[in-house]
Amino acid sequence: MAEVLVLVDHVDGEVKKVTAELLTAARRIGEPAAVWVGDGSDGAKASLAEYGAEKVYTAPAELNDYVVAPKAELLAKLVEQTSAAAVLVSATTEGKEVAGRTAVKLGSGVLTDVVDVTAELVAEHSIFGGATITHSKVRTGTPVIAVRPNAIPAEPAEGAAAIEEVSVEMSDAAKSAKVVERVQQEQSDRPELTEAAIVVSGGRGVGSDDFSVVESLADSLGAAVGASRAAVDSGWYPNQFQVGQTGKTVSPNLYIALGISGAIQHRAGMQTSKNIVAVNKDPEAPLLEISDFAVIGDLHKVTPQLTEEIEKRK
């Protein structure tokens, strides 16, 4: 069975949930082989084995010193060495870029932001803000596919996760954009926005940069916090938490929108959420049309009551 390469997303050796989802998808297509860049693959061996990785190709941390290109060189080299059936990466902003460059190197087609993929490598997209579903295929070369986090449920299956070190000779071109500093702006214990099973977002209705009503509810649910463009543009919440067309795309099991009217801009970033809940003063808010449950009312009254009720039930 042909190998299917899965580029691992990890933060300092801790494997992100999307990698388990990609390994699950890879098993439909062939034999999953994880591709690890950086230190810590030994420590992560068990969590990769748990989702069926038969091999773990590991490459040195030095590749992370440059923007995207070295990862594409690594993946292209592995495809050529292993005659892999496909390459799967997560559809984060960087993941999509890795996919694009890898495909150019391989002379392949690339599909990004895919919400499902079959054994025959037919990929499903949710486009135009979730209004249209398409099915696509790569026609040329080894398919390179970027899969949206939270779209494919992870299912465990045992793999050997045999670690194999890969030597990489980075080209000069790959070293032309150097990361000279990494700046941590937000430190919180909350889950990462695109990975979270539950997202609580605040919009214009929050009314100020005091997002505590949103954060308290999120914390009672172990959820990530998001924000609409209106809230970010008003300077109420940092840019990296923006959900929508020009921000992050999320697909959690539960999305709670507080004071967000739900313009297409916003819906494009959350419409594939499995359950949608809204609290809004405006009975005409477009988000209500796609909500599974909505409360028409003042979020500053409804939300604290909900948070209190959740805490009570714990």
Binding site: T132, V183, S291, F293
Partner: protein, 259 residues
């Protein structure tokens, strides 16, 4: 400093967007064409860099005849001139083919910097900046929330989940921008009038040195097999808060086993 800013005409997200059943490509006739929103931020950044460092800003766009409107609109923000790559054979090109076509045009121009939006609102593939860097073997300075140029040194802040990376490179380079980078200007009446006289060079595939078998639907590296309207979401429950809205919501979440 000579800057090329890439502009894509996309269907207005405020209108109903569809694919055309004939070949599963974007139906450009069914909705109004507008400049891709993030491209306005790219134009603004190019203009600010020109104001600081001098030089010229050229708009480059690939698209059918109606893209001329968006090119004029882009010019009305302040760029000096434009290049419009337009050829019927480009119809149905996928993101990588488009990046290849752009790269071929860029090979014929002298530039220090290419600036583009980090993704378009229609296909949202987010690969064109990276693919251009790959084709042209230039530094990939994508997802920039800040750009600084000093002589031939360029530094950007690249947006990440945790904040940003500071990335350094030498010009020429490819820069893609995120929304946070600036506030695009509104064209003044004077600029709108001036834009009408700015030169727009029209290129077809042959003039741009693009092989016809590298672009277009028939040679696309990907294929949209089918499409359909997403199944409508079942109508949900809407309640009016009468002092117990939070409790009702909690009951719903409990029923769904979230709490």
């Amino acid at each position: 400093m000579n800057i090329v800013v890439l502009v894509k005409q996309v269907p207005d997200t405020a209108t109903e967007r569809t694919l055309s059943p004939a070949d599963n490509t974007l139906d450009r006739a069914s909705s109004d064409g507008v400049i891709n929103e993030l491209d306005e931020y790219a134009i603004e950044e190019a203009l600010q860099l020109k104001e600081k460092h001098g030089g010229e800003v050229t708009v480059l766009s690939v698209g059918p005849d109606q893209a001329s409107e968006s090119i004029r609109k882009a010019l009305s923000m302040g760029p000096d001139k434009a290049i419009h790559l337009n050829d019927a054979a480009l119809h149905g090109s996928d993101a990588l083919q488009t990046a290849y076509a752009l790269a071929q045009v860029l090979r014929t121009i002298e530039f220090d910097l290419v600036v583009l939006g980090s993704e378009s609102t229609d296909a949202r593939t987010g690969v064109v900046g990276a693919a251009l860097a790959e084709y042209l073997e230039l530094p990939q300075l994508t997802l920039a929330s800040k750009v600084d140029v000093d002589g031939s040194d360029i530094t950007i802040q690249r947006a990440t989940d945790y904040g940003y990376d500071v990335v350094a490179a030498q010009l020429p380079a490819i820069v893609s921008v995120v929304e946070k980078i600036n506030d695009p200007r509104y064209p003044s009446f004077k600029l709108i009038m001036a834009a009408k006289k700015k030169p727009v060079e029209k290129l077809d595939l042959a003039a741009a040195g693009i092989e016809a078998d590298r672009v277009g639907l028939a040679n696309a590296t990907t294929e949209t097999v089918d499409f359909a309207a997403a199944p409508p979401r079942a109508a949900g429950t809407i309640v009016k808060d009468e002092g117990d809205g939070g409790q009702k919501l909690a009951a719903f979440l409990a029923e769904k086993k979230f709490i």
